[in-house]
Symmetry: C2
Subunit: 342 residues, 2 copies
Amino acid sequence: MKWAIVLAGGAGTRFWPLSTPSRPKHVLPLAGDRPTICDAINRLAGLIDPERTLIVTAAALAAQVADLVELPADNILSEPRPASTAPALVWATMEAARRDPEAEVITTHADWAVSDAARFRQVAAQAVEAAVQYDRLVTVGIVPTRPESGYGYIIPGPPLDARVRRVARFTEKPDGHRALDLIAAGALWNSGLFAWTARRLAAEVRRHTPEIAPALPHLAEGDVAGFFTAVTPISIDVGVLERSNAVAVVPGDFAWDDIGTWEALHRIRPRDAAGNVIVGPGYLLDAADCVVWSDGAPVVLDGVRDLIVVNANGRILVTTRRRAAHLKNVLETLPPEIRDLP
Amino acid sequence: MKWAIVLAGGAGTRFWPLSTPSRPKHVLPLAGDRPTICDAINRLAGLIDPERTLIVTAAALAAQVADLVELPADNILSEPRPASTAPALVWATMEAARRDPEAEVITTHADWAVSDAARFRQVAAQAVEAAVQYDRLVTVGIVPTRPESGYGYIIPGPPLDARVRRVARFTEKPDGHRALDLIAAGALWNSGLFAWTARRLAAEVRRHTPEIAPALPHLAEGDVAGFFTAVTPISIDVGVLERSNAVAVVPGDFAWDDIGTWEALHRIRPRDAAGNVIVGPGYLLDAADCVVWSDGAPVVLDGVRDLIVVNANGRILVTTRRRAAHLKNVLETLPPEIRDLP
């Protein structure tokens, strides 16, 4: 049967001061009226039953996540410690296989915006079919719509069939010019939407991932804490996909956004006639192409453009859409008592 | 003896959302650490005793003003209703003359920033001397330092002596080009710093100001409410100075600002190395030439310049220094429940 793994991690600094360690991205209604994790579960409806959907999250957030979604309680998997994506995905895949030896797994994230859920499900189904048919780790490569330098790219290789291709190579976060060259050469965005069987994933980890392979027996014994203590944190891209020859790529031709910065809201949310995105009590006069978010006090803008203005959790941020991606650097300069939110 | 009249009116919208009807400009520490009305009183020290300093303010604000300054209680004059500057100045001048028939009056405002108080006092003393010597209404014309289009200008006429000149004419709020022409021709800013005797002011009002002259007998009878009911609101400039031939001007060569907009704070307050004025908890990274004021929540700015950001009284304003003078227009577009503050 088909299983889904939903990663709900994230440190919660990219949407400061709205996101906090106790209220990270995926529990916030960034893309619409509901928390993005609700969108992530609903997006799977019809393709994968809730009984076969596993969410991996931090122990401190598990109760909050469980309240937001309608899943069996033991489908919420609490990581003993954050260890990047590879240990989380290996653990959850092995858990799916423990419950269903025939499990075919697709992986997704709790904080994506996807325009066309039906198309998302079609492509995810194609990825799973390819994973089984070709016995490979399959990644969905999103067809790029802009020269984004914040994403990783996949350069497809020779075709396996009309839709599925080998992977020539992965490349991380190019600058803008290189991104344009990559797109011209047919590169795709590495989304994090993967498909595989437990058997193939375990085989590739054993072959290529010394950071995790020695810890696998802990999982076989049901000792999750021991597994997480033994692994070295590493991402699934660096630790497995970029090292393996048994990968393939299926193109994802739907609008996809990982909601990585405040700027993303300008892409994914409805805009007014002047191109402004306003969430909460925002009053804009002669203001264009701004993003305004307030959880309380009314915000009045006049004579400005391309600004991001956020009032949340007792902090006010004013920056530009261009600088939104540098928010982490800004936070590093703030006194901890100003930066750190509960 | 010399008397001072300090006008402390003002509707309190130019510094929205910090200023409110119950907390207007002159009770706010806009220019420094103290309310500007305290600066206004202290600026007179040595020239005019507190016993001979009268403050004209609104009845609703009188108790608040009395708490801020050390003046005899009956030197706080409460206007029965707002009626612009001419009725207030005529009333206060007649009150000074009632207490001291030899009163020589200078008038000032409670919400100015003046760089050099000693020079201010010297020039004010020159103005009073000229008012007595030439039996004229004397206005201090500030030597302009920029082509300000928010001020009225005085075009001096033939000299009366080395320092005092007749007034050729007044002109209101020119555009930027016209302001440059005026400055090149020797025009001065009409500050509101005036000097006169009660006798001369009453004579000019009787001759030129039908909006007020018929109401003067009320004052002679001590019926202030009757006087304010009978007058038609009019400014001292339009109602008296621009109509009279018995005016003169003394140049004021000190830095003077009427703190008319948020932009004024950029001129009168200390700036950091990047040209920012920060009052309250402001954290600016890669931000230049901004004005930030917060009465509570920390405000973080990054990648912006020439912005004005104010967090006060549960409202947040983000505008530009260029647009600061248009704040009144902005407020007119806001829903009353957002705009109106107690």
